[in-house]
């Protein structure tokens, strides 16, 4: 059964001037970890708000756990956990008070579903009397996740839970999601970090209200249409400028330690490219064919 279905969703703001969602359709299977990958302005938050029954789409329909987001919104709200992008717990309540409050609202107790939150809550416990507003980035996110889980939801909506969070805390957060998935919870999670796509079962790449592609991370990479090389030299900035000046360079972008390069006619242009760089960069450089990353795919699609 599909836990989430979105069917031709449209939504605009400011009298149609801002098209937040343009014909968004996708399905998420039960216990699937599904990622919405895209930068700010892609429409991710709007989509979450519609699925969490907080906003109505202009057209199209959608369901969560088999329930219609318009007709059955009350039932849906009992079954989903929603962690908004903006920290929305009570800043003046302590860690423990926030958790108790959310448990109470959903008619449950911390003890009842403790197994779900145990791993994260143990990290929070030393600070349980600290006010939520005094926690910093990673800890706030962990508390927010606990609060979203306290009523044992069948579907979790996580809107950019790792934005602004350091790489180590991000990794811990994804470990947690893997565990929740193994407990049968369906997870729809958004992120602007392209490298996190590989941690999802399937992803939708989104930009400016549209879905560019939906597939498994491996599937997306396999579809990458061009040959791609990584190039490296001692002066990376000079190399970038030379590589971009070659007439048949399709794209050349910095990718951390190396630059990623694509050529208009792929392998046909390879020899000419190497010769051009030798002539203009003058110093030694390395070039190597590589497999595209999700970020390469995203840039090629956008």
């Amino acid at each position: 059964m599909n836990a989430i279905i979105a069917n031709h969703l449209f939504k605009s703001f400011e009298k149609g001037k801002i098209k937040a969602l343009e014909d968004i359709s996708f399905e998420v299977k039960q216990a699937e970890l599904f990622g919405l990958i895209g930068p700010d302005g892609a429409g991710k938050t709007t989509l979450f708000r519609i699925l969490a029954t907080l906003l109505l789409a202009e057209s199209g329909d959608s369901s969560v756990d088999g329930l219609d987001v318009k007709k059955d919104y009350k039932a849906i709200r009992k079954r989903v956990g929603y962690m908004p992008g903006k920290f929305s717990l009570y800043q003046d309540l302590s860690v423990e008070e926030n958790l108790n409050f959310f448990a109470h609202v959903f008619g449950t107790t911390i003890e009842q579903n403790y197994h779900l939150i145990k791993d994260i809550y143990q990290q929070l416990e030393p600070f349980k009397t600290r006010k939520a507003g005094k926690l910093s980035g990673g800890m706030k996110q962990k508390l927010a996740l606990c609060c979203a889980l306290i009523h044992e939801p069948s579907v979790l909506f996580l809107d950019e839970p790792t934005t602004g969070v350091d790489p180590v805390s991000r990794k811990e957060f994804w470990e947690m999601l893997k565990y929740l998935k193994s407990e049968g919870i369906t997870i729809l999670v958004s992120t602007p970090y392209m490298d996190e796509a590989s941690l999802c079962d399937r992803v939708a790449l989104m930009q400016k209200g549209k879905i560019l592609d939906i597939d498994t991370p491996v599937g997306i990479i396999e579809k990458y249409p061009k040959k791609i090389w990584s190039i490296h030299a001692s002066n990376m900035y000079a190399l970038l400028q030379v590589a971009r000046a070659f007439p048949n360079t399709h794209t050349c972008f910095g990718f951390g330690e190396s630059h990623h390069l694509t050529l208009n006619h792929d392998a046909e242009d390879y020899d000419a490219f190497c010769q051009y760089v030798q002539e203009h960069y003058k110093e030694p450089f390395q070039i190597q064919e590589i497999t595209a990353t999700i970020e390469d795919c995203f840039m090629a699609l956008s």
Binding site: P39, D40, G137, L240, G254, E257
Partner: protein
């Protein structure tokens, strides 16, 4: 780097909040024209250190000079010689692009003629000529960040401090942003930048990594990878930050 002119010098720089030592005796130097990556986990003490260096927070101990000025007694001179860009607040959303440039030019004490000249150059470089009279609120995040950076270096500061400038920015614009950083650094502007994107750490000339208030590593990305037997800066960061005891 030959003839290293030092533009930031910190010696045992410390900041305490009661019993809590946010920044614990950090010592480092940053050279002119360098892209210096200032990394660390959330809560490692980066923001505290940065606030001291830009002259808005007084240290509890140690010494530091920024652009030749003392962080205790010459904070106003520091502010005149640096640019600062934060992720949260960068520009006035209810002003147009042109108005923001004029406003910040005025704040930095530039005269009208200079502001006008700089506005034209800036709009052209960024390709924003057609949008000059649009409100900043109508621009996509990536554009705003590019504009914000250009405004932060409008008054030709010696150093520009960038606090997570590319969070949430789309991949293509993120790279265009780094092109701007490279250009500025080539012109001799020193870049002091924090980021959570580890690929961006690789673009820096040197990188420091803070753990629990201390600088635990400082070197070129290449040497750090050698030192930690790691393939990427991501791995280096994980090895160091995993040791952190302090939970934010």
């Amino acid at each position: 780097m030959e003839n290293k002119e030092i533009v930031i010098q910190a010696q045992g720089l410390t900041k305490r909040f009661g019993d809590f030592i946010a920044t614990n005796a950090i010592t480092f130097e940053v050279y002119k024209g360098e892209i210096f990556g200032f990394l660390g986990a959330n809560g490692a003490g980066k923001t505290t250190a940065m606030k001291i260096l830009i002259g808005i927070s007084k240290p509890s101990g140690g010494e530091a000079k920024v652009a030749g000025f003392d962080v205790y007694s010459e904070t106003e001179d520091i502010k005149k010689n640096i640019g600062y860009m934060s992720q949260k607040f960068s520009l006035y959303e209810d002003l147009t692009i042109r108005e923001n440039i004029r406003f910040f030019g005025g704040i930095y004490g530039l005269d009208r003629k200079t502001i006008k000249e700089k506005t034209d150059v800036l709009l052209k470089t960024l390709g924003f000529e057609a949008e000059a009279d649009k409100l900043v609120s109508s621009l996509p995040l990536g554009w705003r960040q590019k504009l914000s950076f250009s405004i932060a270096i409008l008054h030709n500061p010696k150093i520009v401090f960038l606090d997570e400038p590319t969070g949430g920015v789309d991949p293509v614009t993120r790279r265009q942003f780094w092109d701007l950083i490279y250009e500025a650094s080539n012109r001799g502007v020193t870049i002091f930048v924090t980021t959570h994107y580890m690929d961006e750490a690789e673009y820096c000339n040197r990188v420091s990594i803070m753990v629990d208030g201390k600088i635990e590593a400082l070197d070129t990305p290449q040497n750090l990878k050698k030192q930690f037997h790691a393939d990427s800066m991501d791995e280096v960061f994980h090895q160091l930050a995993r040791k952190a005891k302090r939970s934010e």
